[in-house]
Every structure is written in structure tokens, then in C-alpha cells.
Symmetry: C2
Subunit: 246 residues, 2 copies
DNA sequence: CGTGTCCTTGAGTGAACTCAAAAACTGTGG
DNA sequence: CCACAGTTTTTGAGTTCACTCAAGGACACG
């Protein structure tokens, strides 16, 4: 499947909740967005702190994340992104980037000029509302991570993240049967969860010991979904996915 | 100064970045929003998890916060809110609440029906964009807190929060001379920063020992702004306040 | 087949936690 | 104006979860 403008149109429409919700006119306008599709290697920055981007990137294939670097080499990862996500949608209304976006795996992204998106949202308030909503769900995921960082044990935080990612991937049709590709190092996981890579390792061992999951060769397998979810008080409400399953 | 509909109009316009940025027509529409002003006591819930609110609340006086309760009585506070904020603006586009909003001090809020806000944003895309932007800045603050929870020491996290709150209050004209009313208990601070109340207490003592701040009787005083900011790598960029100072 | 990255494990340390109790406030009613 | 109850702050002592440092093993890739 070669990445084409069509591919990105499909992805964009899927992101907006499926063609069913859009009028012909709206779909037409989306199909005519002037996108630039580009393949990227792993661990490549897409936008950087202090940049003033003039476009947004729609992730078509691969994984990306948002992060910030601190003094003494510390890093905080704010979110992981999968195909269909627009990790830097906020740049549409906030000029200056306050964090970085980079690929984790090799990836394919579609760049869409701000101008085109601003025209689109001005012409179609319904699309604006859906995109706005999307950034709000983003905020909900940030809050869930905050709870993990502040009030959950290492085990709970890791379990919670794995549950979240599974449901997000499943909703985009990218995972099923309680398993998925997870192209993250233990260091990445640690920087997302506020843990050291060593402790992530021990935590994974513990979860494996309870026969809840295995993470091996970049593939995560969940053996007991319900038990895993219960172990970390996982409540999927904050992902606000109902729109897709409906 | 009695709370009146006029007061809430002023506050709303101020929130949107000042009258200068709005057309007469836009200001007119805002002035005709059907608001309900209500005084509230301290520690009163405004909206709760799982609610499906039909209005948003604009905070006119006092402090509020967003939070979530976990098993075993744990609590995570996600944000603090000051006059001018609309803590539950997200309910405009996400039906079900995934967290709670409550007052911290006694407060005055103006409730605005969703319907009216949706009409307003549909009629005036510029207002929609400003409100959207506001929720994006919200997200930026969440990220800053994540960094604090994940990668900062207790001292740094506390200092960072105090810097953030000062700039936010100052931008709304509610603080100057490096001091402000902070109606939070040490338990509240702990639940925001992922610390125990005991450790918050020790951390405050440490900061006081360095003559950086005092927090006494609900008033925070910052003695050495620059040193405090440096001690926690505080970079105000993420607050995206430039709009107001310009 | 070597080099770099990532994972794994051990040992010792430290930041923050819990439990507990005393001291200082706050507000209320007598 | 004082007494009192409830909350909040403060301090001490002991514990624990997660960290750092260090080194060996596994794996991936050119």
C-alpha cells in the first residue's frame, strides 16, 4: 500500500469519525486539501520547541510522540501517537511550539498547510467542532497520564498505558485479539511514565510474572484483559471513543 | 462589586483577549449571552464525573479546580482555575464529564447554556478560534504539570507551580509585586503535585529556608522571583500569554 | 563478526511515604 | 471575649518504592 494523497484523505475522514458524519460537500473539501506526503525514519523530529510551524502533520503510518527535554538529559514524553492522529494540531491556533514531536518508528506523514485547514474549518464549522473535540480528547488523555504519574504505582501506570493504547489502536482498526506492535524501548516507556528504564524493566517482569502480559520483540500481548484493567482501575470513559463504536 | 450579568460579560470579553480584538457585533453578541450568576461556597462541586452538563461555567470570583478521585481515597488535581477561566469548556464538545470541577474558596460563577455558546461560536468563527485556543493552552498547562509529576523533584515542582500561578494571576490583573492569595491547603497542593501533604510541608519549609518564598495565612510571597524561576527551570512560554501583554 | 543499542540483573542509596501525635489556626456559639 | 471543635500545619521516626551505578547478556545491523 503506497502512501498517496488519497490515503491521507481516507485517514482524515476516518479521523473525523467516518464518512457517515460528513456531507458530500465536506468530504469533497477534504479530498481537495493540498497535502504533502512524506516518509520519515525513526527518531526523527517533526516539529521542535520554539518552531512556528505553518502546517500540521497527519500521521499515516508508524508511531510518533510528543516530548520535552529538561536539564540533565531528563525527558518527559507527553503522548504517543498512532496513524490517524494529528499530533501538532494545536499549532493551528498556538503559534509557537512549546514541545517537540518526533517519530518513534519509521513513519509516513501527510503535511497539511495551516492556511488550508483554517479555510476548511471556517467554511465548515462542523469540521472545526470535530477537530476541536479531538484536541479536547487529547487533553483528557493528558489528565489520565497525570493521574498515573502522580497517584499510581509503577505497575498500575504501565498497565493503564497498555490498556489505553490497545483501545486507541483497536478503535482505528490497528489491533485486535489483545495484541499489538509497540515500537517503544523501555527507556521510552520510562520517560512517558516518570520511571527509570531499570524500573520499567522490573515492572514488566512483575506483570509477566502474573501472566498478565508479555512484551517481546516489540509486540505486546495481553493475556487477561479484564484482570489487567482491574489491576489499574482502568476506565475507558476518558478516551471518549463512543462515537466510533456507535 | 456585586456580581452582575455585566460583570460576566466584561470577564468573558477579557478572557477572549480584550475588547480590542473583537468587533462591535461580536461584543454585542457576548453581552446578550443568557448567563445565570450564582455564588457558591467553598469545596462545592460544580460538575461531576459522568454528568452530561448543558452549560459551561465562567468563574467570576474565587478559585476552582478540576480533579478525579481514585480508589483508596487518592485524589489527583488536574488544574487550578482563577477568575476568567471556564474550567468545563470541554463539555461544549464532549458530552460526558470524565472528571470533576469544584470550588476551592467561596466563588461566584456565571453559567452559560451550551446552546448559546454553540450559536455564538457558529456565528463568529473568530470567537470559536479563541475559545479553542484557550482549551489548547489548557492542554499546555497539563503537559507542564506532567513534567513536574514525572521528572521534577518536590522542590522544583512546587516552585514551578507557584511561578505558573503568579503569571496567570498577573495576566488577569489579580496579582502584582510577587505576592498573591492562594486559598489552597497543603493537601490540595500535594494532590496536584503527586506528593503527600507531609512532604509538601517539608518542601515549603525548605523553600522558606532558602528565603525564596513564604506561604502563610493563605498568602504566598515570592522574595526572589528570578532565583525561584531558575531553581525549577521555569520557562513561561507554555502559558502563551503574549497575546495579553501585547 | 564486531559494534552499538537495548535488556536484564544485582547491590546500595535516597527521596518521598506512612503513621502518629502535638501545635497552631479557624470559625462558631455561648 | 472566650471556650471548644474541627481543620490544617508541623515535627519525628521508621519504611518503602523507585533510583543510581555498574556490569553482563542479548539482540540487531552493517
Amino acid at each position: 500500500m503506497a502512501p498517496t494523497p488519497n490515503h491521507s484523505t481516507d485517514m482524515f475522514i476516518r479521523k473525523l469519525g467516518g464518512a457517515a458524519r460528513l456531507s458530500d460537500e465536506e468530504r469533497e473539501a477534504i479530498a481537495h486539501l493540498p497535502v504533502t506526503v512524506r516518509p520519515l525514519g525513526p527518531h526523527q523530529d517533526i516539529v521542535r520547541e520554539k518552531d512556528r510551524p505553518s502546517q500540521c502533520c497527519l500521521l499515516l503510518e508508524g508511531w510518533a510522540c510528543r516530548y520535552q527535554l529538561l536539564s540533565e538529559g531528563k525527558r518527559q514524553i507527553f503522548s504517543f501517537h498512532i496513524p490517524g492522529d494529528i499530533p501538532d494540531l494545536q499549532s493551528l491556533h498556538i503559534r509557537v511550539m512549546d514541545h517537540n514531536v518526533c517519530t518513534l518508528s519509521s513513519a509516513v506523514v501527510a503535511f497539511i498547510p495551516h492556511e488550508a485547514l483554517l479555510d476548511l474549518t471556517a467554511a465548515f464549522p462542523a469540521i472545526a467542532a470535530i477537530l476541536w473535540r479531538d484536541t479536547l480528547v487529547d487533553g483528557a488523555v493528558f489528565r489520565a497520564w497525570m493521574t498515573g504519574l502522580g497517584r499510581r504505582t509503577a505497575c498500575e501506570a504501565v498497565a493503564h498505558l497498555f490498556c489505553e493504547l490497545y483501545l486507541k489502536l483497536q478503535a482505528m482498526g490497528l489491533a485486535r485479539d489483545y495484541a499489538y506492535r509497540l515500537p517503544l524501548t523501555q527507556l521510552d516507556l520510562g520517560d512517558a511514565l516518570g520511571l527509570s528504564n531499570v524500573h520499567v524493566n522490573r515492572t514488566l517482569r512483575e506483570l509477566r510474572g502474573k501472566d498478565l502480559i508479555t512484551l517481546h520483540g516489540g509486540t505486546l500481548e495481553i493475556y487477561k484483559w479484564q484482570e489487567l484493567a482491574d489491576s489499574c482501575d482502568f476506565d475507558p470513559a476518558y478516551l471518549h471513543l463512543e462515537r466510533r463504536t456507535a
